[in-house]
């Protein structure tokens, strides 16, 4: 017969193993997402400490929730946590850091990455970041135009921002 403690450590070991398998499969893509959000360069390795920190925190949350996921995809859960955390600490991510999405504001990055890189539906994106669907669509279109160079980057608060031809 198993004692409570033995059963607990058994369950912990199982959870740790499942979690490790999940991270081995999903971490690359999730770190890519996080790095796009924080607008840090993808390489060299270690050039994205903020993204790594964000992802570690989100994954820790997923680990703590592991036994209570109730069929929810751990990837979705982690992505949701990643987006929520990023949205909470948006003020830290205004400064350009040399990444691909530097021309975008943090909110534009969040919408663009969720919609186009992660392929999250408009309604879900809206629910996730607490905006109306029309607004998500507008922000997404705006970000797409900025990234294609057909629109000037949105002026940002508190930072010098990229050089603009004409002041808005």
């Amino acid at each position: 017969m198993w004692t409570v403690r033995e059963r607990q450590t058994g369950r912990e070991r199982g959870r740790a193993q499942e979690f490790e398998t999940f991270v081995a499969g999903a971490a690359g893509r999730l770190l890519h997402t996080a790095t796009l959000l924080t607008a840090e360069p993808m390489r060299p390795p270690g050039a994205n400490p903020r993204a790594q920190r964000l992802l570690t925190a989100a994954l820790a949350h997923t680990y703590a929730q592991w036994d209570r996921l109730r069929g929810e995809d751990p990837y979705d859960r982690t992505r949701r946590e990643l987006a929520t955390r990023f949205a909470h600490e948006v003020w830290r991510h205004h400064r350009p850091r040399g990444g691909l999405l530097d021309p975008l504001t943090p909110q534009e990055r969040l919408v663009l990455v969720l919609r186009l890189y992660e392929g999250v539906a408009e309604e879900q994106t809206a629910a996730l970041i607490g905006l109306p669907v029309e607004r998500v669509r507008a922000v997404c279109n705006r970000s797409v135009a900025t990234m294609r160079g057909t629109r000037r980057p949105t002026a940002r608060r508190g930072t010098p921002g990229p050089p603009l031809g004409v002041a808005r």
Partner: protein, 82 residues
Amino acid sequence: MSRGGDREDEVRRMLDGPHPQVPADLARWAAERGSGMLRRRLFARRLMLLVACAAVVAFTVWAMAAHPWQVPPAETTPSEGW
């Protein structure tokens, strides 16, 4: 519609690309932090349970000492009747 789709595809291609290298210890860091969260949560739950038990005991002791109600003769069989 398809124009918008084309534009989105163009940006999607910009976003795609090789994933950044994941630090070897990322899973372990996350698991350690996560189990720390679980441990703290367990501790908080136990503490709450302990406080609740203490409250029940304190109430019982006080009630036994103060008898703030009219005690019904719960354990006594009626001397007569049914």
